[in-house]
């Protein structure tokens, strides 16, 4: 158990700056998810915490120790790798015991911890098997087990679910959340999947191009994205961004005071838009032409364009009768509008 503090952490490869000064405080027992598109530096940052990558500048501390110059083994962390990295020549039991043996843990203690972890992860039947005799999901559990038996100060997860099929991924996601709750150990979890990020995180860190865009709870990020990057990254389908003020008669806001000064971009989520009806108090109104309709089961997403050609997506419940090339008016309430300035920063 420990808090992790990153202080102006930097990483350069030659002349390329991969991490551009990241500061972050992770509370004891917290599950932090680092999320961002590929190449944003999230894995690099995790590997720097683990000690697998050197630190060019700044400090990383785990607990009350600065770990910059410590070997990975000296940092009291355990890591779950994307490809699981199980030792293929050892049985599951030997895989779990390896890290403890290297630390001269007494035999009875090793057995006790393996028994506990195996029970929690339901891998008891496989303890004497080799990794190649296990399915993907089972290997994933073993990789988790190898981290758990170490009882480290912090867990680091490097996209641990990305090699699983969709159904298993959802199942393991729930299980990781449950385990992390019961163990109450500080965890840093890297993923590119925003659904995974939203559902797992106590707090989310959105990274883009080596710097932090925003840190906050999933709901904060969803409701009040700090930048247009976060706005479009969190939520699926993405928030639609419109140039503001409107060019021509593309869209209108009723009430002149609705838009803050300096607004360059207006953002609206698909789920906040609806077909305009009489008597509904919509601040935002737009006439659109349908380009495509996606039915995803309980709801449909309509991809449409404004008269000036700007794309916009909105959600309608159930199976809609909307067809391609239909024209209609859509609207949104004042509370659901997001305003950004010319640099993409949130206003108000």
């Amino acid at each position: 158990m420990a808090r992790i503090a990153l202080n102006d952490v930097r990483k350069t490869y030659g002349t390329v700056e991969a991490i551009k000064g990241v500061s972050l405080d992770i509370a004891d027992g917290e599950l932090i998810v680092l999320v961002g598109p590929s190449g944003c530096g999230k894995s690099t940052l995790l590997r720097m915490i683990a000690g697998l990558e050197g630190i060019t500048g700044g400090t990383i501390s785990i607990g009350d120790r600065v770990v910059n110059d410590l070997e990975p083994s000296g940092r009291d962390i355990a890591m779950v790798f994307q490809n699981y990295a199980l030792y293929p020549h050892m049985t599951v039991r030997q895989n779990l015991a390896y890290g403890l043996k290297n630390r001269n843990t007494p035999r009875p203690e090793i057995d006790r911890r393996i028994a506990e972890a195996a029970k929690a992860l339901e891998i008891e039947p496989f303890l004497e098997r080799k990794p190649r005799q296990l399915s993907g999901g089972q290997r994933q559990r073993v990789a988790m087990g190898r981290a758990i038996v170490r009882e480290p100060a912090a867990y680091l997860f490097d996209e641990p679910l990305s090699n699983l099929d969709a159904k298993l991924r959802v199942q393991m996601r729930v299980e990781i959340k449950r385990l992390q709750r019961s163990l109450a150990t500080t965890s840093v979890y890297v993923t590119h999947d925003q659904m995974e990020a939203m559902t797992l995180a106590d707090r989310l860190v959105v990274l883009n191009g080596g710097h932090i865009e925003q840190v906050g709870t999933p709901i904060e990020l969803y409701e009040k994205p700090a930048t247009t990057f976060v706005a479009t990254f969190i939520g699926s389908p993405s928030m639609s961004l419109l140039v503001a003020p409107a060019t021509g008669d593309g869209w209108t806001l009723s009430g002149a005071s609705a838009m803050p000064d300096g607004t360059a971009t207006l953002g609206i989520r698909p789920e906040d838009l609806h077909l305009a009806e009489e008597g509904r108090d919509d601040t935002f109104r737009a006439d659109v032409k349908v380009a495509a309709v996606e039915l995803v089961g309980a709801e449909s997403y309509v991809h449409a364009t404004l008269p000036d050609g700007t794309p916009i997506v909105f959600r309608v419940a159930g199976r809609s009768r909307i067809a391609m090339d239909d024209t209609m008016t859509i609207g949104a309430a004042a509370s659901s509008l997001h305003f950004f300035d010319g640099r993409g920063m949130r206003l108000a």
Binding site: A50, G51, L52, E71, P72, S73, I77, A78, M79, F81, Q82, N83, A85, Y87, P88, H89, Y98, G99, N102, R103, R132, R146, R150
Partner: protein, 293 residues
Amino acid sequence: MHTVAFPNKILPYLLVAPQIILTVVFFFWPASQAIYQSTLREDPFGLKSGFVGLANFSAVLADPNYLSSLQVTVVFIVLTALVSMGVALLLATTADKVVRGQTLYRTLLIWPYAVAPAVAGMLWLFMFNPAMGTLAYLLRRNGFGWDPLLNGDQAMALIVVAAAWKQISYNFLFFVAGLQAIPKSLIEAASIDGARGTRRFWTIVFPLLAPTTFFLLVVNTVYAFFDTFGIIHAVTGGGPAKATETLVYKVYNDGFVNLNLGSSAAQSVILMIIVIALTAFQFRFVEKRVHYG
């Protein structure tokens, strides 16, 4: 498995013919000749030969010279394989850590493989010849009684070093490839699991190299058996006092120098059986302990 049907009946035979012809001409025909020869005895003048059944075999197996040659061969093979694989593994693990100039380093290490066995033998002979060798001079000046012409153990050491040196490059290439095939994340997982240096090597890296090591063990055994004739011939000629006369060298010596063709043929048949048995044994028992992936 998908089977391919050729429309033409003759084409498949034509396609495998080159390999079949090579095997027949260079293996089956000489091997059958050796078996045939091994049952004959020539008269001292080479005018006629008579069938003697297995007499050549019983004579060879009862010959103390043959048994001592067998012992020499075992010592030679074990030492050569151990030295060449050990040094190659050491160089490969070191080369794996080199960041700058890796290609140059590897290229230089591969060169000895291109040297012909007899030339390699001469090279080492020049360095360690007691009369004119530079290194032999250094050894003696430092009080070491170096004389492979009289001391059998030293002669053995010299041919082992020469034979191993030539094979190191080959082993090195395979070990480097083997090391590169180990996923980086496994090494990282081990370093997080607190295994460092030699402990990490023996518990993680070496077991994962096992398929490579096993393959090289087979190749090196066969190499030390058959391909080292040139080295022995150039460096020691089997001496002193037959201390470096391996089975292959004895086949040559008895057959082509002493012209005892029947005995020589019997020896080569025995040699063939030994190598077949050894390779079968290696695949049957050692391979079971090898982890493929």
